[in-house]
């Protein structure tokens, strides 16, 4: 299992799905560990009743069906599929509405889904998912990307309320890949995945949703920034140590 995780840390992030399915077939005895520890690109289904797409993950799965956050029904239909309590479902509906607006403002497109469920310590857990296809054939407004995918997974555990405060633990993963392709510079492809945690103790005066939302917003901005500045920057630094760009391009005499 340790070796399997080691491999996942080294294989190109854009091949995550292939790597994972290879490991699953080699280590079927570890399949549940692998599926819970390896983040993979998000899949999507359509809720026909609402004509809206929703994102699949371990948290809205029961047997081989997935619950839509829009209709609260399982696809394919499943009798006795587990559902959140009425009260939590109300929060889930609200979270989906608001998160969709948040998503639209930052992503200018994309798909989002929020799932909530009760946990064992009188608190609850929320999972906020965003998937965006930023390629020019997808929802890339500016049309720069031949291929561009962003998958964000935020799992936030909310502890029981005590004296008007609650503990929030957020674990976020972002997976992305982008490729530009043009005549003069060839194919340029960057892909990556990072995961971070954040813990906060907050007053619940403004409601859980407000607290969760702010934490996710802060975390997403941090992750985006470190991918852009630190992670991509490091690969650029590497490039420049391999073959430093010289200041002056030597021109050939006309021949």
């Amino acid at each position: 299992m340790e070796a399997a995780m080691g491999l996942m840390r080294r294989m190109p992030p854009k091949h995550t799905e292939t790597s994972l399915s290879a490991l699953l077939s080699l280590l079927p005895q570890h399949s549940s560990d692998l599926l819970s520890q390896v983040d993979q690109p998000l899949q999507v289904l359509c809720d026909m009743e609402y004509g809206k797409e929703f994102i699949l993950c371990e948290y809205n799965r029961d047997a081989d069906s997935y619950r839509s956050p829009w209709s609260n029904k399982y696809h394919p239909p499943l009798e006795d599929g587990s559902l959140p309590s009425l009260e939590l479902r109300k929060l889930e509906v609200e979270a989906n509405d608001i998160f969709a607006i948040y998503r639209d403002q930052y992503y200018e497109g994309g798909i989002s889904s929020v799932y909530m469920w009760e946990d064992d310590n009188e608190g609850f857990v929320g999972c906020f998912l965003i998937k965006k296809d930023g390629s020019k054939t997808g929802q890339g407004r500016r049309g720069y990307l031949q291929e561009g995918a962003w998958d964000a997974i935020h799992v936030i555990e909310v502890g029981p309320e005590e004296e008007g405060t609650a503990h929030y633990r957020l674990t976020s993963t972002v997976m992305l890949s982008l490729t530009t392709d043009n005549e003069s510079s060839g194919t340029f492809s960057l892909s990556g995945s990072i995961r971070r945690q954040m813990n906060m103790h907050l007053s619940t005066e403004e409601g859980h949703l407000c607290n969760m939302g702010r934490m996710i917003e802060e975390m997403e901005s941090k992750l985006r920034n470190s991918l852009d500045q630190v992670y991509f920057g490091k690969t650029k630094e590497m490039l420049c140590t391999l073959r430093p760009p010289s200041e002056v391009v030597m021109r050939l005499p006309d021949s």
């Binding site: 294989m11 982008l178 530009t180």
Partner: protein
Amino acid sequence: MADEEEAELSEKQKKEIAKWFLLNSPPGEIQFVAKDVKAVINDDVLYEEAASEAFPIYNKSHLISIEMPGRIGDVCTEVRPALDDELPSAYVEEFRCALDAEILKYVGEAYPKGVCSVYCGNGKDVEGPGFDFELVVVISAARHSPQNFCNGSWRSVWSIEFKDEIQMLELKGKLQVGAHYFEEGNVQLDAKHECKDTTIFQSSEDSAIAISNIIRQHETEYITSLEASYSNLPDTTFKDLRRKLPVTRTLFPWQNTLQFSLTRDITKELGIGK
């Protein structure tokens, strides 16, 4: 279901999977990948087979250089002198040798840790003018700094066709760069580019100078275009995935969210909006 899959996975499939992992190793990391693959495969015989097939392919495609005897090489265990009929003719060798000297000079200047070679690709038996032949320039630079969580490699292969009849040299270059940064994450760069150029057929020395100038020019231009790709990231390319700030240019108003959903309900009820 899992049991069925396990039973169905033949030795051949396992070996293919092992090879796939090995061949997808980031620059300079195949040894680490190999260790993990060996543990996952859990079958030493099968692993050895996969490794013996994958390592040579990986080493060649990554242009791993061999240290020649005199120093201690760990890749190469046996070196033999080339036989006479394996070497190019004196005519071709004159061009190869002149180019080798120029490329060495260029690589020494442009790459802090570059290695290069010039080989005869085709027509090694051409004895004099009247026939075509081909030389191949191979440049490779690698840097492994696991202590800084970063590895990378640069590879370029240039083929130069000496066309006797039209008295022209046709150059084709394939440039490839890879980098892996893995401090608390896994981010990889993979960039490729192909380019072409021509120049006139001259004496061995003049051809060598012209060729190395063309290579220098294209490789420098390529680095510049890669830098441009990087500097375009934050404001153009990356923006198509996720913006730094919302379209409103202010942080999302979470405190007003209740209002938001109320407005939504009203909009829905009144049937306005889309």
